[in-house]
């Protein structure tokens, strides 16, 4: 099976410092894949390189076999590679329904339509409303994003990405800063996503990672240390040293 | 050769006026379009002291600088400070408001005409060397400019205030943690910049002219100095000012029909090609 997402010797250098170093990664369709590593291991940098947020110093990115290394962010989104951000990037003054409708409109290619009001694009609005229903956000549909509690805002961060109908969804610490009970609910929602959506996850909470992930890659100092099944990773001595050891001691 | 001297002298004036903007805009990141108003204030103060009160020129010019610095302190304490964290658009609107107010105030008190300016005797005339006529006043401007540039450079890199300014601009929060009175440092930096602008305005009456439109007329010149010279970079500002002065004087002499067009074009190209001249925080070294 062709990997849905693949990198070959991906590197990013800032001056003399390698934020990513020779990362070759291969992710199968439908995977539930976690990226772990200590702070500063280059996890977010890797996501930035995959999505085109940063340009690599060397190496390539392939999406469904196509070389997308030179494509802009929005072109990769059009091809099904969508991300969320570690720090919310939302539309503060829009209502929740408006925000998600905006994302749906972009996916449907309506973004250049400058004549018919948004309100007349009923298909887009209905789709946005359905998504809100799935994510249990209907009660705040007409509320301004900025006036929501942080946990709900975190959910909208994901809703905006889902509205783009990802084939590969990159989640950058989706539960960061969310209270424990709410983060459970958030992960239940993520776990219920259909298998057509491949998920790559960065997460610090090892409980959540081992419950969710079917494969784990460990990054250290920008480079890939190892990649395997969760139970193998949990037993790996090197991983325990650089990561789990640190977490256990800390 | 005369053109070169004229250009250098004009450049020195630009340097005096712009170096303060290079600190507020380049380092403190405040878009103060009204910077020229401080130069105008200095100019009018000097003109007034000379013509009405008969104060000697060598006293009137520093007094003009002091007046502009004082105005800088007052405005910084009362108004500018509130907008350090505002958007650039807000800062622009605010400083345009100040420009309007300064223009109409100048208009009200002094009328729309150019201020007459008579050089003191010892600065009149020329030194005639073989093949080279140098206006004494031009020479005076160049010497004063150089002395101040060296002095500023020394102050920023060798005094306690310079170190505090660099720290405060680099990271206000950390500087506060180190016990630096950031508010006071900013006020002083602002006052210094305004004062130098005032001095430049006073010394520049003869070359740049002085009328109520002054703050708008030279806005682009000041911005170019910052854009080309780099933020808060004294050496850079000096070089940029001198180049600009030379280009401007030479351009007006040789290609009058093109006018200031070239200068504006240079600024736009500069901003496109080398935006780090503006944003690269080379810091005052």
């Amino acid at each position: 099976m062709t990997p849905v997402l693949q990198t070959r010797n991906l590197s990013k250098r800032f001056g003399g410092f390698f934020a990513s170093k020779d990362v070759s990664l291969s992710i199968e369709p439908g995977a539930r894949h976690a990226l772990i590593g200590p702070n500063g291991a280059g996890k977010t940098t890797l996501i930035n390189l995959l999505t085109g947020f940063l340009e690599p110093s060397a190496g390539e990115v392939f999406l469904k076999g196509e070389d997308v290394t030179r494509l802009a962010q929005h072109q990769r989104v059009k091809r099904g590679l969508v991300r969320t951000f570690q720090i919310n990037r939302l539309f503060a003054e829009m209502t929740v329904l408006e925000s998600v409708t905006l994302s749906v409109c972009e996916r449907l290619g309506l973004g250049w339509n400058w004549w018919r009001p948004v309100g007349d694009h009923t298909a887009a609005i209905d789709e946005a409303a359905e998504l809100l229903a799935t994510l249990r956000l209907l009660d705040v549909a007409h509320t301004q994003t900025r006036s929501l509690a942080y946990g709900r805002q975190r959910m909208i961060e994901i809703a905006l990405a889902l509205a783009a109908k990802p084939q590969v969804l990159l989640l950058d610490e989706p539960a960061a800063g969310v209270p424990t009970d709410e983060s459970r609910e958030l992960f239940e929602t993520i776990a219920q996503l259909p298998r057509e959506v491949t998920i790559v996850l960065i997460e610090h909470d090892m409980d959540l990672v081992f419950r969710f992930a079917e494969r784990i890659s460990v990054l250290v100092g920008g480079a890939l240390l190892t990649e395997d099944l969760p139970e193998v990773i949990a037993r790996d001595r090197r991983v325990r040293e650089v990561y789990l050891g640190e977490a256990l001691d800390g | 050769m005369t053109i070169i001297f004229d250009g250098l002298a004009a450049g020195m004036l630009l340097f005096l006026i712009s170096v303060g903007l290079s600190v507020t805009l380049g380092l403190m990141n405040f878009v103060n379009l009204a910077h020229g108003a401080f130069a105008m204030l200095g100019g009018y103060t000097c003109a007034l002291l000379l013509s009405r009160l008969g104060v000697p020129f060598l006293l009137a010019a520093p007094a003009a600088a002091a007046t502009a610095a004082l105005a800088g302190i007052i405005l910084e304490r009362t108004l500018y400070r509130r907008l350090y964290a505002a958007t650039h658009l807000d800062q622009v609107l605010f400083s345009i408001g100040l420009i309007f107010m300064s223009i109409s105030t100048a208009h009200y008190f002094f009328g729309a005409t150019q201020q007459a300016f008579v050089l003191p005797d010892f600065l009149k005339g020329q030194i005639n060397l073989p093949g080279l006529d140098v206006g004494i006043y031009r020479l005076f401007l160049i010497v004063v400019g150089l002395i101040l540039a060296v002095g500023l450079q020394w102050m920023v890199s060798h005094t306690r205030f310079g170190a505090e300014l660099r720290a405060a601009v680099d990271n206000p929060r950390a500087a506060r943690g180190l016990g630096i009175n950031v508010d006071r440092v900013f006020t002083l930096a602002f006052a210094l910049g305004s004062g130098l602008a005032g001095l430049g305005g006073a010394l520049g009456i003869e070359m740049l002219g002085l009328d109520p439109g002054f703050p708008v007329k030279y806005i682009v010149y000041f911005l170019i100095v910052v854009a080309v010279g780099g933020s808060g970079n004294i050496k850079g500002s000096l070089l940029a000012s001198l180049m600009l002065g030379l280009f401007d004087v030479a351009g007006k002499y040789y290609l009058p029909q093109v006018g200031a067009f070239v200068i504006y074009a240079v600024m736009v190209v500069m901003l496109i090609v080398r935006p780090q001249g503006l944003f690269g925080r080379a810091a005052a070294k």
Partner: protein
């Protein structure tokens, strides 16, 4: 699939006309009968309102700051003036020519403007407008330089309504063009394209991540804004049959920013109401003393920035919907 139980009408009907809007557009009609002697001023208001609308599109909606928007106004003014001078005096043709010229300039300069952050944008727009000003100033054979462009001969509108001494035709012509262009702008800001511009202004970093080509959208918005400004400039030329150099002056750009901020950015009616308030104040106060006027103008700008950043529209919104404002 479970049917969604949600009242979608707030978004579905967001673009519907409010009764206050109908009332607002009766004002030009009322003004015509109440101030029959001030038609020249009223035309000026309509033209400035259109110009302000154009800045609102690029600043209020697309979030592009500009210190040189008068460049496009001036281009439109000269384009229409030159067309009329050289025999193409049909007003509507003039508007089209002006819109094209300004749009072309907007399109070309948008690539310069969009490269930088706010500060660079401010300086680049200022620099570009200064260049055009100098060009117009020096190309005296072409533009008349500081003496202005003479000999602008405008034919009757639609071949039927010639421009009369009382300014009746000029007034209705300006109001009609303003209304049509406003109507189009209103469609535009309520469309998915308009929504995407709001998205860019509110969070430019997110837009590419939901698949929107940000730069292309901004280029389009800037070009449209420029075209609008060009039409406003052309209207001024056609209704006054003259082009003066100060159509491109920095003070015009600065004043326009003030008007928009006074009315409230990011709201089409803010642009219109701001213009009305500003022009009326200008008319009454500058008669007393032009210098005082500029002083108070500056003071008003300082106060607005410090205390009333949302302008008149912000105030109206607070008055009309105190219950909906989140505490």
């Amino acid at each position: 699939m479970t049917p969604v139980k949600l009242d979608l009408s707030p978004l579905r009907r967001a673009a519907a006309w409010h009764w206050a809007e109908y009332a607002f557009w009766l004002l030009p009609l009322v003004a015509y009968f109440v101030f029959p002697k001030n038609l020249a001023l009223l035309s000026q208001i309509a033209i400035t309102a259109l110009f302000c609308l154009s800045l609102d599109l690029i600043l209020g909606y697309a979030g592009i700051v500009s210190l040189g928007h008068a460049a496009f106004f001036g281009l439109g003014a000269y384009a229409a003036g030159l067309m009329a001078k050289y025999g193409w005096g049909d007003p509507l043709l003039g508007l089209a020519g002006a819109a094209l010229a300004a749009a072309a300039a907007g399109f070309l300069t948008s690539f310069l403007v969009l490269r930088g952050a706010d500060l660079t944008r401010l300086m680049v727009t200022l620099g570009v407008s200064m260049m055009l000003y100098e060009a117009a100033n020096k190309l005296t054979d072409f533009t008349g330089g500081v003496d202005g462009l003479q000999g602008v001969d405008i034919q009757p509108v639609l071949g039927m309504f010639s421009f009369d001494l009382y300014g009746k035709t000029a007034y209705w012509y300006s109001v009609a063009v303003l209304f049509l262009m406003f109507w189009v702008a209103r469609r535009l800001v309520h469309s998915p394209f308009g929504l995407s511009l709001r998205g860019i202004r509110q969070n430019v970093g997110r837009m590419p991540a939901i698949g929107a080509p940000v730069n292309a959208r901004l280029v389009a918005a800037y070009t449209i804004g420029a075209a609008y400004a060009g039409v406003a400039g052309a209207l001024l030329t056609q209704t006054t049959q003259f082009v003066s150099l100060d159509v491109m002056a920095f003070s015009r750009s600065a004043e326009l920013l003030l008007i928009l901020v006074l009315g409230g950015t990011g709201s089409l009616y803010g642009a219109l109401i701001g213009t009305m308030v500003f022009m009326a104040a200008h008319h009454f106060l500058s008669d007393i003393n032009p210098q005082y006027w500029q002083f108070w103008l500056g003071a008003a700008l300082v106060l607005i920035v410090l205390f009333a950043r949302d302008g008149i529209m912000g105030l109206l919104r607070k008055l009309s919907a105190p219950a909906r404002t989140p505490s």
